[in-house]
Symmetry: C2
Subunit: 217 residues, 2 copies
Amino acid sequence: MNRIKIILVDDHRIFRDGLKSLLSEVEFIEIIGEASGGSELLETLTYIRPDLIIMDISMKGLSGIEVSQKITSVTPEIRIMILSMHTDEEFVISAIQAGVKGYLSKDASKEELLEAIKIIHEGGECYSKMVSDNFLKSYVRKYKAEHGLVENKTLTQREIEILKLAAIGQSNKEIADKLFISHKTVDCHKNNIVQKLKLKNTAEMVLYAIKHKIIEV
Amino acid sequence: MNRIKIILVDDHRIFRDGLKSLLSEVEFIEIIGEASGGSELLETLTYIRPDLIIMDISMKGLSGIEVSQKITSVTPEIRIMILSMHTDEEFVISAIQAGVKGYLSKDASKEELLEAIKIIHEGGECYSKMVSDNFLKSYVRKYKAEHGLVENKTLTQREIEILKLAAIGQSNKEIADKLFISHKTVDCHKNNIVQKLKLKNTAEMVLYAIKHKIIEV
DNA sequence: TTTAAATTCAAGAATTACCCTATTGTTTGT
DNA sequence: ACAAACAATAGGGTAATTCTTGAATTTAAA
């Protein structure tokens, strides 16, 4: 399995080093770069393409929010997770508006961090317990509803299951037989997947699955 | 564009080093490993997966022919090019029977070598001028005809063109419009591609194209 | 020069993919 | 507790693709 390629961004070198060492022990993760600030990150992105960026908010120069906006508008396939000491609502909301897919407190445990990385990598979103109170949840929903269908559209478990099978060349009928459901159901799931991910056809589903490392090549 | 991953195999270190330095200057090539002999190569292949192996025939221990047989029978998608000082017909014939896709003399120029690498990588075969006389050509054809349809089935230029477009998610109609031909022709080409490569459907074509680096991911 | 291969196109049949709608059960928010 | 949203399941209709067979033209090879 290809590992999740990550770039770390934080203006404190010792924090980066610690996180790097921590994540280096995880077999499904590969740290492919780091940056001490927003400008350095943007420069790095011109020649390195990560799956995920883990970034602080408060940095000298460009803030994490500003950088996130730039990145998500140009290359939305690169997911961004904020790792911040601030869990105030305003920060989180700004981050979400900037298109980040996760917001964790620096107090989070290693397990929480890994879980969040997994979830985000599989197309989901993850906000730390401290920041994901009721108000925030409802706000996120409302904000997204208001600001149109530029939605995250995370796939359900069943959809991911079907995406994986379709992406390795299985036909609807083959998938149906394997999962003991009607080929029409498979068809419907694929249809939903295509819509959620804004794809055109099965061929693009294969490409998507490979790009996002949902299947191995 | 992903570079062609190559492993060099020769029992003379200085030759490997020279070749490595020569190929390192080429941007579409990446030397991902080397071995001094057959056994070492087989061991290397358990954890490194190259696109192409460039190998001498006469080596201590296992000969290049024996190693080629083993590799092509297990992992036929790894292509093998022999780079030998012997251009005698028997050697070449044995090599071809062992499933190699190219046979170059060590006298070949850098340009010939690069050309051969490209051709083989795109699914073709390439034998150096010295060894590719009429006798050999006819022999190769006869041998392949006799030994059934375990053919290389190289794609034509047009087929590769269509494979590329289909693999990035274009429909038959879109491809037809782009190439100014009938969608029925596209259909026919795709049909031939699927048969030649022993695939099942378009999704598998996408996978094939990615695996063989015919398109970028 | 005759043969073979590559590229082009087409008709008809079978299959599959794609799109829309709909039902049922399960969470979730108020 | 009840409405809303979500997840998983399909059916029907249409468009697209695939398979098969056949064939003309051009180009390359024996």
